[in-house]
C-alpha cells in the first residue's frame, strides 16, 4: 500500500520533471538545478539518533556531548552538499545501442564523463527496469554504463526516461536527476518459431552481374568494412602494407533467395514479418545471399552483416505508425 503510493508519487514527480525540463540534449552536462535530493531511510535514522543525543545533552547540560551532536549534525548537512555536488556537472552522452530482437533486453549504453579534477563515487544509472552497477568516475575520466529495457515489440523502442543517482558520501542522502534523452533502440521482429521452408534459390546463370556478388570468381578487392568475414580478408595484400582489403567474388552461377512479402499469403502482418525475419537469419547464418521485398521496400540480393542489418531494420520499421 505504502510502496504503491510511493511508486505513484515517483511517477508523478518524474512526469513533472519531464514537463519542467523537456527533452534533454545529448550530450548533456547536468546542472545543479535539476538535481533533486532527499534523505534516505538511513538519513532519517541518523537524524533521529542526533535528536536523541541532542535531548540527552541538553538535559544533562553536557557541553561536550552537545558539541559532538552539533559536529555530527553539521557533518550531516555537509554530506548533503557533497551528495548533490557528486552529480552536478557530470556529462552524459549516449553511446550506440545495438539492435535486438523482440523479446530480448534492449541495452542502452550511456557514457558518464567527469569533467572535474576530483573523482566522483557511487554513480548509479537506473530506469524502472534495471540499475547499472555503481561506478566510480575518476577525475577527467569516462565510464560507459548500461541500462536495459525489455523489448516487447518490434519497432523503435524509446528509453523514455532514466535516472542518474548517487548516495555518496554516507548513504544519508540520495541525489538524483531525471533524464529524458531522445534514445532509441531498433527492435527487430521476433524470428518465427515454425520455420516455413524458404523459397527456393533462384539461380542466375547469366554472365557476371555487378550488383549481385557470387562466390565463385575472384572479381577484385575492396576496402574492409567492419563485419566482413575474416576468411575474405586479403592477408597477402595486408602483408604488402596495402591495408585491410577484402576479396570480392562474382560468379557466373549466383544463387540467391528472394524473400517476398507476397509469398506469405494468408498470414497476418506480424506473422509475415516474423517469418521473413527467420528466413533472413537462417540465410545469413548459412552465408547465402538473399534479397527482401516488402511493400514500400525492395532490397536486392546481397550478403554480409550490413545487408542483414538493413533488411532486419526494414522489417522492424515496416509500417511504423501501423502496429
Amino acid at each position: 500500500m505504502f510502496t504503491s503510493l510511493l511508486a505513484r508519487l515517483r511517477r508523478r514527480t518524474r512526469a513533472w520533471a519531464r514537463r519542467r525540463h523537456g527533452i534533454d540534449t545529448d550530450p548533456l552536462v547536468l546542472s545543479g538545478r535539476r538535481i533533486y535530493i532527499v534523505p534516505t531511510r538511513l538519513g532519517v535514522a541518523f537524524a533521529a539518533m542526533l535528536f536523541a543525543m541532542f535531548l540527552g545533552a541538553m538535559n544533562y547540560a553536557n557541553n561536550l556531548a552537545l558539541a559532538l551532536t552539533f559536529t555530527l549534525g553539521s557533518l550531516g548537512l555537509m554530506a548533503m552538499h557533497y551528495c548533490q555536488r557528486n552529480l552536478a556537472g557530470m556529462k552524459l552522452a549516449s553511446a550506440v545501442c545495438e539492435p535486438v530482437f523482440a523479446g530480448q533486453l534492449a541495452k542502452f549504453r550511456i557514457a558518464v564523463e567527469n569533467l572535474a579534477p576530483l573523482p566522483r563515487f557511487d554513480i548509479v544509472m537506473a530506469n524502472d527496469h534495471s540499475a547499472a552497477a555503481a561506478v566510480r568516475v575518476d577525475a577527467n575520466a569516462r565510464v560507459v554504463t548500461e541500462i536495459t529495457l525489455p523489448a516487447a515489440r518490434r519497432g523503435r523502442l524509446a528509453l523514455e526516461s532514466f535516472e542518474i543517482t548517487t548516495r555518496h558520501p554516507f548513504g544519508l542522502f540520495r541525489a538524483w536527476a531525471y533524464l529524458h534523452m531522445d534514445l532509441h533502440c531498433i527492435v527487430y521482429p521476433r524470428p518465427s518459431e515454425r520455420a516455413m521452408p524458404p523459397p527456393p534459390l533462384e539461380t542466375d546463370t547469366g554472365g557476371a552481374q555487378d550488383a549481385v556478388k557470387g562466390d565463385e570468381d575472384f572479381a577484385g578487392l575492396r576496402a574492409f568494412n567492419p563485419g566482413d568475414p575474416p576468411s575474405r580478408i586479403a592477408w597477402k595484400a595486408y602483408a604488402r602494407g596495402q591495408g585491410l582489403l577484402v576479396k570480392v567474388y562474382a560468379g557466373t552461377a549466383v544463387s540467391s533467395h528472394q524473400f517476398d512479402w507476397d509469398a506469405l499469403e494468408g498470414l497476418g502482418v506480424e506473422a509475415r514479418l516474423s517469418q521473413l525475419c527467420r528466413w533472413i537469419e537462417d540465410a545469413f547464418a548459412a552465408g547465402r545471399a538473399f534479397g527482401l521485398r516488402i511493400p514500400g521496400t525492395d532490397i536486392p540480393p546481397n550478403v554480409g552483416p550490413a545487408h542483414r542489418q538493413r533488411c532486419l531494420t526494414a522489417l522492424a520499421l515496416f509500417d511504423e505508425a501501423g502496429p
Binding site: 545543479g32 538511513l42 535514522a45 541518523f46 539518533m49 536523541a52 543525543m53 540527552g56 545533552a57 541538553m58 538535559n59 544533562y60 547540560a61 553536557n62 557541553n63 561536550l64 556531548a65 552537545l66 558539541a67 559532538l68 551532536t69 552539533f70 559536529t71 555530527l72 549534525g73 553539521s74 557533518l75 548537512l77 555537509m78 554530506a79 552538499h81 557533497y82 555536488r85 552536478a88 556537472g89 569533467l115 572535474a116 579534477p117 576530483l118 573523482p119 563515487f121 557511487d122 554513480i123 548509479v124 552497477a133 555503481a134 561506478v135 566510480r136 577525475a139 577527467n140 548516495r167 555518496h168 558520501p169 554516507f170 548513504g171
Partner: protein, 676 residues
C-alpha cells in the same frame, strides 16, 4: 552489494591457504569493512571500560574477536540459536547486576553488550551500520562520565574514524581507506566552524527536564561515616576535590581554611555517623570580614557542597543544615558544579543549645572506652572550667608521646582507649575522635566535623586547589557563652599541618610518592600549569552555560537578545555558511582539464571567445586559430607561434623533460601576454 559478497563468500568452498610469498594478505572489501567497523566499535567502548563492570567490556571484546576470527578463517557465523542464547544470557546478567536498564551506567553497559552482539551477527552493510550507530551513541554516552580536557580530542578522532568507516561501508564503487579518511577528515574540518557557532550560540536551558537515576557509585571522597583509618586512606589520593576562586584574590590565611563537610554525631565506640535527629537551627553571626568566592566541585555523587567555615551566603537552590553544612536539594553532585558563596571565618553561634542536640552530642556508647572516660572525668575534676579542660587535653596531646602519621596501626574495638593508652600514633581522625569522646565524657557537648583543610594555591590562575589528600577531621565543642567552638586537635600535635599544608606535619618516612614529587619545584610548576589549563577548560567549555553565553553576546554588542533574535542570527549564519560551502564545492568541482597544455589552450579559447571569436565545436586548433588570424590580423605573429607550439606540444612526438618544460612555459607565457 555486501549481501551478494557474503553469499559468494559463504558458498565458496575454497579455504584460504597460507600465502607462499609473505606478502600482505589481501583482505576482501567486506572483510575490510568489518575490520574497520569492529575497530571503531572498540574505540567507542574504550572510554566506558572504567565505569561499566569488567565482564561487560570483556564480553564485547570477545564478540569482536570471535567475529574477526570467523571472517579471517572464512567460517560460517555462529548459529542463530547460539547467538540468541548468548544475547539473552548477557541481557539477563546485565539486568541482575544493575537491576535496571534505566540508568546511566546500566544503559551504557547495555549499549556495549548490544553492539557486541550485533557485531557477532553482522554480515550485511545494514548490520555494520547499526554497529556504527551504536558506536556513535557510546561516544556520546562517554561524555556523561568523562569531561576531561583530553576527552574532546579523543571524541573528535573517534568520530572521524567512525564516519570514515560509515563512508567506506556505504560505497558501492571502489574507494580506498586513505580516500575515505581524507575525504571525511576534510568534511569534518569544514563542519567544525558551524558546530562551534552552534555550540556558542545555541540557547542553553537551566536545569534538567528529565533525570536518569544516577548510579550511586562511591567515588573517591569523604563519606558520611568515619572510622579510624578512613581519612588517612583518603589522604594518599591526589585526586582533585574542588577548586576555589576568591573574589579580588582575597584569601583567608592558611590556618583558617577549613572546608566544612558532613558533621558526625553518633558514635558506637569505633565508627562515627551522622545523626538521625533533626535539629533546630541556631543562628550564626559573622564577626569578621566576609569572603566571597566561587567553588567548583568535582563530581562526588553526594549532595554536599564544601564551603569555607562558616558559610553565610549561598544561592537559592542550596540549603544550610542545622550543622552549618551546605547541601543541594536532593540532587547529588554527579557532574562538575560551581556555586558562588560567602563565608566568614570568624563567627559566633547564638542562643542556647537545644536539648535534643545537647543529648545527642553528649551520648557515648555504654561501657565502651572505659579508660578514656575515666581519664576525662579525672582531668575535668582537676581543672576549673570547660575551656581549661580543652586546653588540658590539647597540651596532653602536645606534651606526651603522640605521633601524627599517615600509617597508623590498627586499633582495637575500644578504639579510643587503644589509641590514647596504647598505640598513640594516629592521623587527624584519631585525634578528633579521641578528643570528642573525652569532651563528651567530661560533660561538654562535642561533635566531629569532617571536610578539608588547606589547599594549594595556583599562582597561574589564582585558584585554590583542594584535593582529596587535604581531607581532614576536627572537633567542635559547645560552650554555653560562646556557642560552637572549633577545636582542632591535629593543630596541637602537628601545628605545621594546619599552618603550612598537608605534608608539613608528617613524621619522616610518611611521604607518599605524589608527596615526594611535590617537593620538586619543576614538577610543581608542571602540575600547576596542567591544573590551570584544566580549570580554564572547565570554566569555559565544560561549564559554558547561560551566563557565559550572555556575557559572550554582550561582548559582541548584543545586549540581552531574545530567543527570536538569537535563532534568526543562528539561522542566518547557517545559510551564509552553507552557501559558502556550496560555492566552494562548485569551485572545487569546476571542469578543469588535467593536462596543463589543454588547460592553457582552454583559457586562450575562453579569452578569444570573450572577444567575440567563439570556437565552434567542430573547429580544431588549426582552423580556429587561422580564423582568429583572419579576423584579427594584428595578432598574426603571436597567434601563429601559439598555434605552432600548441600543435607541437599536443600532437607532435613526445618531448624530453627539459624541452617540454621550456616549450610549455613559452606557450603559457604567450597566452598570458596576449591582449585582445
Amino acid at each position: 552489494m555486501s549481501a551478494a559478497q557474503s553469499v559468494a563468500r559463504a558458498t565458496s568452498p575454497i579455504k584460504r591457504v597460507a600465502p607462499i610469498k609473505q606478502d600482505r594478505p589481501q583482505l576482501s572489501r567486506a572483510s575490510l569493512q568489518l575490520l574497520w567497523t569492529t575497530g571503531c566499535f572498540l574505540l567507542a567502548v574504550l572510554p566506558h571500560l572504567s565505569s561499566v563492570r569488567w565482564w561487560i567490556g570483556l564480553l564485547a571484546a570477545c564478540a569482536a574477536a570471535w567475529r574477526l576470527f570467523v571472517e579471517i578463517e572464512q567460517r560460517p557465523l555462529p548459529h542463530r540459536l547460539l547467538r540468541s542464547a548468548i544475547a539473552m544470557i548477557a541481557v539477563a546478567a546485565t539486568l541482575t547486576t544493575y537491576r535496571t536498564l534505566n540508568g546511566l551506567e546500566a544503559g551504557a553497559a547495555f549499549l556495549v553488550l548490544m553492539g557486541g552482539m550485533k557485531l557477532l551477527e553482522s554480515s550485511t552493510v545494514r548490520d555494520l551500520t547499526v554497529v556504527l550507530f551504536v558506536s556513535y551513541f557510546l561516544l556520546f554516552a562517554g561524555f556523561l562520565y568523562n569531561l576531561g580536557l583530553l576527552s574532546l580530542p579523543y571524541m573528535l578522532v573517534a568520530a572521524w574514524l567512525l564516519t570514515a568507516t560509515l563512508m567506506l561501508i556505504h560505497q558501492a564503487s571502489p574507494m580506498s581507506i586513505a580516500e575515505a579518511l581524507r575525504k571525511t577528515g576534510k568534511m569534518l574540518l569544514q563542519a567544525l566552524p558551524i558546530a562551534v557557532l552552534m555550540f556558542l550560540f545555541f540557547p542553553r536551558l537551566p536545569g534538567q527536564f528529565w533525570a536518569l537515576p544516577a548510579q550511586e557509585k562511591a567515588l573517591t571522597g569523604l563519606s558520611d561515616t568515619m572510622s579510624p583509618g578512613d581519612v588517612s586512606e583518603l589522604s594518599v589520593s591526589g585526586k582533585l576535590a574542588f577548586r576555589v576562586k576568591f573574589d579580588d584574590n582575597v584569601l583567608p590565611p592558611p590556618r583558617e581554611r577549613y572546608w566544612r563537610g558532613p558533621v558526625l554525631h553518633d558514635f558506637d565506640g569505633r565508627t562515627w555517623r551522622r545523626t538521625r535527629y533533626g535539629f533546630v537551627e541556631r543562628p550564626l553571626v559573622a564577626t569578621g570580614p566576609t569572603y566571597r568566592y566561587r567553588v567548583v566541585i568535582e563530581p562526588h555523587n553526594r549532595n554536599w557542597v564544601f564551603s569555607l567555615d562558616a558559610v553565610t551566603g549561598w544561592p537559592k537552590d542550596l540549603r544550610r543544615t542545622s550543622d552549618y553544612q551546605l547541601v543541594t536539594g536532593n540532587r547529588a553532585i554527579s557532574r562538575l558544579s560551581s556555586f558562588t558563596l560567602e563565608s566568614s571565618t570568624s563567627f559566633r553561634t547564638a542562643g542556647p543549645l537545644p536539648t535534643v542536640m545537647e543529648r545527642a552530642d553528649l551520648r557515648l556508647p555504654e561501657g565502651r572506652n572505659p579508660k578514656s572516660v575515666a581519664l576525662a572525668k579525672s582531668l575535668r575534676a582537676g581543672v576549673g572550667g570547660n575551656a581549661e579542660f580543652v586546653q588540658a587535653v590539647l597540651s596532653r596531646f602536645r606534651n606526651e608521646k603522640f605521633y601524627y602519621t599517615l600509617e597508623p596501626p590498627r586499633l582495637d574495638t575500644d578504639s579510643v582507649d587503644d589509641f590514647l593508652f596504647n598505640t598513640r600514633r594516629g592521623f587527624c581522625e584519631h585525634y578528633a575522635s579521641a578528643f570528642v569522646v573525652l569532651a563528651r565524657a567530661a560533660g561538654i557537648p562535642a561533635r566531629v566535623v569532617t571536610g578539608y583543610q588547606g589547599g594549594e594555591f595556583n599562582p597561574l590562575n589564582d585558584y585554590l586547589i583542594v584535593s582529596q589528600s587535604d581531607a581532614h577531621a576536627w572537633a567542635e565543642v559547645w560552650f554555653d557563652e560562646q556557642g560552637w567552638i572549633r577545636v582542632d586537635p591535629t593543630a596541637a600535635i602537628a601545628p605545621d599541618r594546619i599552618e603550612r599544608g598537608r605534608n608539613a606535619g608528617l613524621t619522616e618516612g610518611d611521604f607518599g610518592t605524589g608527596e615526594f614529587l611535590a617537593g620538586n619545584v619543576a614538577w610543581l610548576k608542571v602540575r600547576q600549569g596542567w591544573d590551570a589549563i584544566n580549570t580554564f577548560w572547565n570554566d569555559n567549555v565544560v561549564d559554558f552555560g547561560q551566563s557565559q553565553q550572555r556575557s559572550l553576546l554582550q561582548r559582541l554588542g548584543l545586549d540581552d537578545p531574545g530567543l527570536t533574535e538569537l535563532g534568526a542570527a543562528l539561522l542566518l549564519s547557517f545559510v551564509a555558511f552553507f552557501a559558502a560551502i556550496s560555492a566552494w564545492l562548485a569551485w572545487q568541482f569546476r571542469p578543469r582539464a588535467r593536462d596543463p597544455i589543454v588547460r592553457v589552450y582552454d583559457a586562450l579559447c575562453r579569452q578569444l571567445g570573450k572577444a567575440g571569436i567563439v570556437r565552434q565545436p567542430h573547429e580544431g586548433p588549426n582552423d580556429y586559430l587561422s580564423r582568429v588570424v583572419v579576423q584579427r590580423p594584428e595578432l598574426t605573429a603571436q597567434i601563429t607561434e601559439i598555434r605552432a607550439l600548441y600543435v607541437g606540444l599536443r600532437y607532435g612526438p613526445a618531448l624530453l623533460g627539459s624541452q617540454l618544460s621550456t616549450q610549455l612555459s613559452r606557450f603559457k607565457f604567450l597566452v598570458n601576454q596576449l591582449r585582445i
